[in-house]
Amino acid sequence: MRVKTCGGEGPRQRAVARAEGQAAGPAAAQPALDHASQPALELEDASFSYAVPAGELAGPEVVSHASARVPAGAFALLVGGTGSGKTTLLKLFKPEIRPQGALSGAVRVLGRDAAAMSPRESAESVGYVFQSPDSQIVCDSVWHELAFGLENLGVPQDQMRRRVAETCYFFGMEPWFHRRCADLSGGQRQLLALASALAMRPSVLLLDEPTSMLDPVAEKSFLSLLRRVNRELGCTVVVATHAPRAMVDFASMAFCMEGGRPRQVPLDSLREEPALIAAGGPAGAASAAVPGPAPRAFAAVPSAPVVSARDAWVRYGRYGRDGAWVLRGADLQMSAGEVRAVVGGNGSGKSTLLMAVAGMLTPQRGRVANALSGSQALLPQQPKALLSRPSVEEELMEWAPTAGYDRGRMLAVATSFGLEGALARHPYDLSGGQQQLLALAKLLLTRPRLLLLDEPTKGLDHAARSLVAAHVRRAAAGGATVLLSTHDVAFARAVADSCSLLFDGQVALTQPAGQFFRESWVWRA
């Protein structure tokens, strides 16, 4: 066992040695590695299509004649919209989790054919971090999660203790080493997922949308740690993302998925992002059906507020240390037809504020008044909470009898969300982004007068985000009042009239959206 473990560390140590021999900086890393005997990851005319039931025609190729090389020690971005095949491409390098289907061409990891690797070799040399931290955490406590992979491989006790200790130290996780995973914040969980993959000391680390749940500051600190893993530990890193802007400064190369093929693109081309709602009309063909008016001017003195919170104090649990106050005297005033974005760090109480406005929880002190509570809709962070029917069509028609809309309107809305082709599918067969759109479509069909959206663009690609933006603007134009929490600055800029910053359980300030983002240090677009 010990011999095998040491053998697994070989490539990593070589990579460290190479990294040490080079001048710092991704640009300098490239030439030295080009003549390295083997790239860390290599695709040669690789194609993949998902398995279909016997008797049916083979499905389209998700990955089609792909050829690419990622040199050892690189920090590569894999960019592309939802459904472009990024995740499938990543999973090709990890045979034990590769989806069922037909693969042709060559897929090599550290010079070896990926398909020929045993699950043990793959687990030892390639780490994989999934998108959702919730479902990839296996164990109850942080220490056990870190040790889980090592236990599976039968790493001896002293070796295991060293790796867990060093990983924990590297990421500064000692203060929460004994905590329960369920009690961690979103950022901590994502870090735990990264750390538990790295505790196995892989030579290559693949990450699928690892920062989609994080606020801008948490995202940056996660990426800096990832960069340190790449530089100091010599680990080759590939990150699949549809929001590459924040990552450009950390990466050394980038690929763009186009037609099932990764094409290398210059990093600088990823710095700019087209506007979510173009000045002359909505961006993208998908949102053409939905005109998107520009944000209104912000009324400095709101006329007769329809939603207000005065000195609201909220905490979960009545006794003990669990009962720390989440909201500590929050004030909020919204006038009819206003679109208000609430920004703040992970765990600053944005969701709690929305839930208090929705009447889902009653403040222990202070009061919340909501004149529109009879016609409100809430999009939760997990859109699955709203999806309970066996098909998209039934899902969209669920509230038709009570909310009073017909099939024609349902079809129009489904089309405007790009869901017309998916009406017969099960909601759980849709991608996470499509589920989010479906939940929003379901809510908008009921024409709510108050729309409460909790992170509506979380995990969505650019096209889907501009769809959501256009729909929110249209709902506002139709008279709806919108309160949304978001980390997405570009989205908030595109849709919000005004913006509130939540800090220390209070609404620290409220400003017109343009001014807020112009003056902000953290939320800059």
């Binding site: 066992m1 989790i97 479902s135 109850d140 909470a385 999806l387 909310a403 007068r449």
Partner: protein, 305 residues
């Protein structure tokens, strides 16, 4: 029960290997269930409640007594209805003759029940899930992983049920045609249809999660074959072995003395008089030990609350 997954080091057993605590709780719970001699029951109740106070604070222990005391009273008063043995008649209420011995027996049974419940709660505070898993050893990786996942699943389902039902009831726009002006806040109770809906959502959600989790486990070498190892959070030191042996020996002595006391005691037809006896002292040491150790430790660290 315990606020976090971490066990606290300032209470008894907090600094030793979980095997010491396991031996201890097995002993007190074992003796407590088998012995109904009043002095032993009283000592057990006192020990369990005092240790509970150390672990969870006086307030929550007192709050728990709010339902535990009525339970004792219920058992105590109900026993004479079924048991007509005993020689000392206290009162005759119609057809029911209440006898002192039957009341005493009920009181002891009630006390024993309360002490058992309290010892189990104390054990749950001290032997948190991760420490329990550590005891299970590396022989049953699948079982211990399953247990660990099941432990997470229950609170997760509860949390998600809260999200699903409150979100659905918050969407008032779906409940009836929109009305003008202020309306009533969304109701807290979900209808029967709501429960069905929510359980469908939870089921689908959990199944979807399990597919992803299975991938995540495989990606980290689950079932690659070969022997599995276990990360030891705490090493079993000589001190722990000595301590566990000492606790075990004391418990054995207590069990013998309890057997002697039990064999000389009977509720029916007459209860013998209770006399001072040195044989109670070891059980007092066993039962009150953790509370005393915790108190001494806190006084020394200057953190007695």
């Amino acid at each position: 029960m315990s606020p976090a997954g971490s066990h606290r080091a300032d209470v008894a057993f907090g600094q030793s290997h979980p095997v010491v605590a396991a031996v201890y709780f097995a002993a007190v719970i074992g003796i407590g269930t088998l012995v109904t001699q009043p002095v032993f029951v009283a000592i057990s109740v006192a020990g369990a409640l005092l240790f509970g106070t150390c672990l969870q604070g006086a307030l929550s222990t007192a709050r728990r007594l709010r339902w535990q005391l009525p339970m004792v009273a219920l058992v105590c008063l109900a026993n004479p209805l079924f048991s007509h043995s005993g020689a000392t008649v206290v009162a005759t209420l119609g057809p029911v003759t209440v006898r002192l011995e039957a009341l005493a027996y009920g009181l002891c049974m009630g006390g024993s029940l309360v002490s058992m419940l309290q010892w189990v709660l104390d054990a749950a505070c001290v032997l948190t899930e991760d420490r329990l898993l550590e005891l299970s050893g590396s022989c049953l990786p699948v079982v211990s992983t399953m247990v660990s996942m099941a432990i997470q699943l229950v609170p997760q389902l509860r949390r998600r049920y809260g999200v699903v039902s409150s979100t659905r009831s918050a969407c008032t726009c779906a409940q009836a045609p929109a009305v003008e002006g202020p309306a009533v806040a969304p109701g807290k109770g979900a209808s029967r249809m709501g429960y069905v809906n929510a359980s469908t959502v939870l089921m689908a959600w959990a199944m979807e999660d399990s597919v992803e989790r299975a991938d995540a486990m495989r990606a980290r070498g689950w079932e690659v074959g070969g022997p599995r190892t276990r990360y030891r959070l705490q090493t079993l030191r000589a001190r722990d072995v000595v301590l566990a042996t000492a606790v075990g020996s004391l418990a054995l002595a207590c069990a013998l003395l309890a057997w002697v006391a039990q064999s000389q005691w009977s509720f029916y037809p007459n209860m013998p008089a209770l006399v001072p006896w040195w044989g109670y002292v070891p059980y007092m040491a066993l039962s009150l030990g953790p509370a005393v150790v915790t108190a001494v430790r806190r006084i020394r660290e200057g953190s007695l609350r």
